[in-house]
Subunit: 332 residues, 2 copies
């Protein structure tokens, strides 16, 4: 489902600078955080950029908003379409609501009810499809043909990539020079944007992508020199199951220093560490980027390291269901 | 277990001002937060003071540290004792570790292993006892007799109360004038300190305590004019099961405008709202103070309202156990 109609001519750090200006009235400047315990554990100085506090609870708002803010007037009235069962769906829905642009989201009927409700809550129209790539692509094509919508791809879109790059842009302003920056990589929008922002401003800063070991397609893609499929990996990091796109891969292969991986138990242990020590909700996909530092897989002794916490959207239903069962059974 | 040896002569807002100065090198200045959704829901302008980001994950560090910083040299070498299975145990243990003062904590053997481990991790010596008031008092008396320790009561101690009052002191600096301030009330240390700080600086600001409906002893105490027992209430708000002390009651009855209550289901719904919307871990005892505003039990339309989020220490073991069972069963 790569949008091959859009030329692959790249963007550069100026596009990210402009996106940062463009997003100022709309996106939150999210806080950065650190912890003594994390620094003691890894021997470095680690700063987290907390996009879990961004609107819709994830960095994805930046890319979606940056794309819609640049949509031509004629296309604004007609509307946009995307396919996503995750954060991009909510991000595009909110961006559309704020700018009064109709949004259609193609979502597999297996998507959690909570994501469906959240997307609909922002006023998007939802089209259900079978949970296969073919069904998803057919549904999107059908919506474009019928309504003339503009496709806003979740990651393989230059304006989306530029928007995601504003996280790192802001991070450098807040944290100062970094020896290394890490972020998770699924489709690669965040990593590509991060790499362009960081290498454009600070070429000596190492840019590292992190992905689940069970979905190590970015690592394999860099090794082979062409886009490898992630298959349908069974990982708790639900935002990182996707393969790279042509645009994100072209940026990542030229601007990213390495890809590191984390096992499922490392992801869970790291997520718990972040919840307990930082008292914040961090989604599994974000824990993937902290795990190599916390476990020591990636040595960072005496380095200043920035890590992007991509989001905080976790389905809390099972936890609160269990608490309700324990505490509400005997009435008030 | 009220420390009747200490005179009940009250403290005032100057003691809190001094405590704030004294704590500056030690305690975090915790952030304040707000949310469009919360404001839309209640019609007011609500600001949360996030003591879940305080050291040891709760405001209790302030009171314990303020008490230990004022301990006479001769008593420092001997050490201190307290009884707590909750946040005060960790708070005193950390304060003692930072100041090199021996700390002994009497804890019922039924206390969760995680609290036991955390307190021990800060270097405190733990004495186990039966989970009854009589056993706890006997164990503390025994430790004082044997070692000459100074008792640092979890809430019925003026230095502890002054320390807890620095939360509101800092909050007013950050948020500006407030029409109303809410905080949870268990033993009453936080509410008493808050009332002294707020009424001392801004007499027209309403000070409201919040407690579980199932542990409404503070409300009953204000109504009857003497300390009523909370009994052994079955509430998820584990920090608020205690009754008031003589010192906290004396401050609260003269400086607090009202006590409001929340049912168990309101507490749970509010806790979930805070986790989902603010992406932060908030303990049930803190949700108690937000619930009356979120549900509308306490009308706040057009008011500027400050609410103290007292802590973020929640046992995450059941949640992460469930996630591990779901995701780690088939190995890496």
């Amino acid at each position: 489902m790569n949008d091959l109609s859009q030329p692959t001519a790249s963007i550069d750090v100026d596009d990210i600078r402009q996106a940062a200006e463009r997003l100022k009235p709309w996106a939150h400047i999210t806080p950065i955080m650190s912890s003594r315990t994390l620094n003691e554990r890894c021997g470095g100085s680690v700063v987290l950029k907390c996009e879990n506090f961004q609107r819709i609870g994830a960095f994805k708002f930046r890319g979606a908003m940056n794309a819609l803010l640049q949509l031509e007037d004629a296309k604004r009235g007609i509307g946009v379409v995307t396919h996503s069962s995750g954060n991009h769906a909510q991000a595009l829905a909110l961006a559309g609501q704020l700018l009064d642009i109709p949004v259609c989201v193609v979502m597999p009927h297996t998507a959690p009810a909570i994501k469906h409700a959240a997307t609909k809550g922002y006023g998007a129209r939802i089209v259900s499809c079978e949970p296969t790539l073919a069904a998803r692509e057919a549904a999107v094509a059908n919506e474009i043909e019928r309504h003339g919508y503009t496709l806003i791809h979740p990651f393989d879109n230059w304006q989306v990539i530029a928007g995601q790059g504003t996280v790192a842009w802001e991070f450098l302003d807040q944290a100062g020079p970094l020896d290394m920056i890490l972020c998770p990589v699924g489709g690669g929008g965040l990593l590509a944007g991060t790499a362009l922002a960081v290498k454009g401003r600070s070429p000596s800063t190492k840019v590292i992508g992190a992905e689940p070991k069970r979905a190590d397609d970015a690592k394999r893609s860099l090794a082979s020199g062409s886009i490898e499929s992630s298959g349908d990996p069974r990982t708790i990091a639900d935002g990182l199951r996707t393969s790279l796109g042509v645009r994100t891969f072209s940026v990542i292969r030229h601007n990213v220093d390495a890809i590191v991986t984390a096992t499922e138990s490392e992801i869970l242990d790291t997520m718990r560490f972040l919840w307990e020590r930082f008292k914040m909700i961090v989604e599994p996909s974000s824990a993937v980027a902290v795990a190599p530092v916390l476990t020591g897989t990636l040595p960072v002794r005496d380095l200043k390291v920035g890590i992007i916490i991509s989001g905080g959207n976790v389905d809390l239903e099972p936890l609160f269901q269990a608490l309700a069962t324990k505490w509400l059974t005997d009435g008030e």
